[in-house]
Amino acid sequence: MTYQIQGEQGTWEVVIGMEVHAQVIAESKLFSGAAASFGAEPNSQVSLVDAAMPGMLPVLNEYCVEQAIRTGLGLNAKINKTSVFERKNYFYPDLPQGYQISQFLHPIVGKGEIEIDLPDGTTKTIGITRLHLEQDAGKSVHDQHPTKSYVDLNRSGCALMEIVSEPDIRSPDEATAYLSKLRMILRYLDTCDGNMEEGSMRADVNISVRKPGAGYGTRCEVKNVNSLKAVQQAIEYEAQRQVEIIEGGGKIDQETRLWDPAKGETRSMRSKEEAHDYRYFPDPDLLPLHLADSWIERVRETLPELPDQKKHRFMKDFGLSAYDANVLIAERARADYFEIVAKGRDGKMAANWVLNELLGALNKDGKSITDSVIAAGQLGALIDLISDNTISGKIAKDVFAEMYKSGKDPAEIVEEKGLKQVTDTGAIEKIVDEVIAENPDNVAAYRSGKDKLFGFFVGQVMKKSQGKANPNIINELLKKKLSL
């Protein structure tokens, strides 16, 4: 399923690389002890270090380093035992030091890869070039005053991981699959909350086009692409724009462009480009960061099971399809829920109940699994009631609906409403006899060869028993009596 752009001069291929900025989950900032959380009063989460007061010095947050190691391991990447913090120098009001402390030549994490899942059910491996730690900038507010901007440094100095992919992505679908998968991995690792709306995960997309098989074209970096939908649209727009320029005899300028979600277009940020020369050099306030093998191993040992591992285990242990497994592992909480339901029970049945009934109901209400009033153990108990013939599958759906409303235990609902399955053969036989007596025409038709009518009889018996009669017994009795 290759993605191609049909130009006037043939087909074009799009080449995409992603730079994702992910805010590290940590209490405090990368180089200061001020809080890293969102939504406080302006400049209240700012230390004198974050405000770049004269003589203030950075001290590296150990946990942020550990989070970067953890993420690197989760991306199957090489952890660099020596990395160096450098200064990226430029002036901006929300950059108090006049430089951003980042990693340039020697990032903490080197090459890795992740597997992405495409809509057609296939997978593809996308290379990770590197991951490095850096400081976030503050926030400038431009819409409060006609001639002034307001600066809030609460974000200034929060730890970010910049995760750079290889230019292995070839379509908007692959790009969103990559971003989804990356976000899923970060969430599993608990190293970034992946919240794109709040800006704790932001993507810059490098886009170029080429004739299939040709060398790389000149790329543009598109910024401000802050949702999966925006990624999709920005790539479609930008690739088309580039094809039109090249086919029109023009040349692509290597530049930074801004995605405008309102207009659905990218536009040049050339004004901001103005002779960027970041003058990187090793930050003399910090020494090279050396990681002991023992530290890396300790982090490796505490690594949770990652989405792909979990998916394959679910398929193997529970006999699930790749599709079902993918849906279940999409969120760690969802997978955990499923595992409790499935434990000691039929895996496929558990998956059906979680996917079709529970997630179906939750989706309809715009809720996620963590909002579910039905605990995993309760859903498991419901399945047990089906398995031990206490209730039928059909009744179980009614019980489920009641559970979803009240959060009550299934056994309690069955008890209260008297939904226990009738397994008393004498009682069912009585109903069967009634049904046969009431439908002489159908009985005659059946006996003359209309086998399909069997279902009608089952339905009638069920109806009379208010759904409580055991279907196996109904079948047995009907077969016996109708064949007489």
Binding site: M53, P54, G55, V151, R279, F281, P284, L286
Partner: protein
């Protein structure tokens, strides 16, 4: 009582302990002297109220038997150290009026041990200079004059206010910072002693940064032992400075046993630079002879990359400075000059806020880091820095301490060497190597030249070799018996 300002710190501590005088009296004597010597322009801000309050508290502590190591000793604080609630300017207009909401670790340490702050001493703007003529608050005048010549001389730089104040007896000791020689060269020019300790010994937290990989704080005082007392209080591990070393601070004064028998003193031949006055050469030889007669062994050593040290320094220091000084943008503190737009505001603020030498170094630093030049200048300089460092490490396999002159000349007249920046930079030729290699360097007066101006000797030691430096310096100090006073100070006494 009139001579209180002429006491050494060691003597003053004894006097305070014996109740010969109080800390308030000692402080008041200095405040009075400061007024007399105000024409030296050694202080940017005098803080007599704070000093007297601290002195009174000191007297109380002493009466209660809780006196600290340097309790009641009045000091000058280089105006590069941030002092809570007291204007801190780095001698730059861009920080005029800036009152830090925090206290530097070094001054906190000094106050913890009972020091009294007389005021903030003048310096070259952002510590960039060797003559204290780049200060936005005016030149500092060296209390020393040439014989029969009233020309105002520079006190050296960048810590010229501190060295002039200690020499003029308007503080008992002072803090300095040394990035390329800014403690040792002014100490030499003013006939006092000063030490730049090993990089990482004193915390840089709260010290306005010039070049972070070279900056190191240290004390000035009139004797070697007084320096030992002050450094013990200033030094120490600081978790807020990632380049600060977590190792115990020794009792430096206790290391001054006077016994240097068998100690190997290295004499680097490359420090015999072209055009060096014969008197300095002679002083150097004198120093060698003193140490020899005290039982030390003299070893000729070679530091072959010495001549590259200044150019290396004038790449690395401006590069780091260009980045360190980016924070002075008129947004969060300091001077702001309004402009047509943001960029204009930045450019005007910085052009008008920084003086010429600072602007020049920012430009050099920006240039050597810029795309296309980074490898040729900055990386090249770092490679040569490694060679310079290696030179020292090889030399220290053959000797324990190096003995050199401190500066290639005695104090010069204000205005001299101003036309050519490179000529001014040559002042740091003997000191800058110590910063590049991170070594401790101690400067002390050894005699007067024929014009009656002090000349100094420098000892360079192994990393963390401060104790050896103090011990050897004590031996030279005793042999040199430097008792000369600037004429103006003599009169005042």
């Amino acid at each position: 009582m009139t001579n209180l300002t002429h006491l050494t710190i060691e003597q003053a501590l004894k006097g305070l302990e014996k109740k010969d005088f109080t800390a308030v009296e000692l402080t008041q004597a200095h405040i009075d002297a400061m007024e007399k010597f105000r024409s030296l322009n050694a202080y940017i801000v005098e803080t007599p109220e704070i000093a007297l309050k601290q002195a009174a508290e000191s007297d109380k502590r002493r009466a209660g038997g809780k006196a600290g190591l340097i309790d009641g000793i009045p000091l000058g604080i280089k105006d590069l150290f941030c002092t809570q609630g007291v204007q801190t300017t780095a001698a730059s207009k861009i920080l005029e009026g800036f009152k830090p909401e925090y206290e530097s670790t070094v001054t906190s340490n000094l106050f913890r041990d009972g020091a009294v702050m007389l005021g903030k001493t003048n310096l070259d703007e952002f510590a960039m200079g060797s003559s204290n003529t780049t200060s936005a608050f005016g030149n500092v005048i060296n209390p020393w004059k040439r014989k029969n010549d009233n020309t105002d001389l520079v006190p050296g730089g960048s810590s010229g206010g501190s060295s002039a104040a200690v020499a003029a007896r308007i503080c008992m000791g002072a803090t300095g910072t040394d990035t390329g020689g800014s403690i040792r060269q002014p100490a030499a020019f003013c006939g006092i002693a000063g030490i730049k300790p090993t990089y990482g010994r004193c915390s840089r937290w709260g010290v306005v940064a010039f070049a972070s990989s070279l900056d190191q704080a240290g004390p000035f005082a009139r004797t070697v032992k007084d320096n030992a007392l002050l450094l013990r209080s200033m030094a120490g591990y600081d978790p807020k400075d990632s380049t600060s070393a977590d190792r115990p601070v020794p009792d430096y004064a206790a290391a001054m046993t006077g016994n240097i028998k068998g100690l190997k003193i290295g004499v680097p031949k490359e420090y015999r630079v072209e055009g060096m006055p014969a008197e300095i050469e002679k002083m150097w030889q004198q120093g060698i002879d003193w140490l020899k007669s005290a039982g030390a062994e003299i070893v000729d050593v070679s530091l072959p990359h010495t001549k590259y040290a200044l150019p290396v320094y004038y790449i690395i220091a401006p590069a780091e400075a260009s980045s360190n000084l980016a924070r002075y943008d008129g947004v969060r503190y300091g001077k702001r000059v309004t402009g047509e737009n943001l960029k204009d505001m930045y450019q005007k603020t910085r052009a008008q806020g920084f003086g010429e030498e600072v602007r020049r170094r920012i430009l050099v630093g920006t240039y050597v880091l810029s795309a296309g030049y980074y490898d040729a200048y900055y990386i090249k300089a770092q490679r040569v820095r490694r060679l310079i460092y290696n030179d020292f490490m090889s030399a220290f396999e053959k000797c324990d301490v190096l003995l050199t002159p401190t500066a290639p000349s005695a104090a010069f007249a204000i205005g001299e060497n101003e036309d050519d920046p490179v000529k001014m930079y040559l002042n740091d030729v003997f000191t800058v190597t110590g910063n590049l290699a991170g070594l401790p360097g101690l400067a002390l007066p050894a005699g007067l030249d024929s014009q009656g101006l002090p000349l100094g000797l420098q000892l360079l030691g192994r990393p963390w070799g401060e104790e050896t430096l103090f011990n050897v310096a004590g031996v030279i100090e005793k042999a040199a018996n430097f008792t000369a006073l600037p004429a103006s100070v003599q009169k005042a006494a």
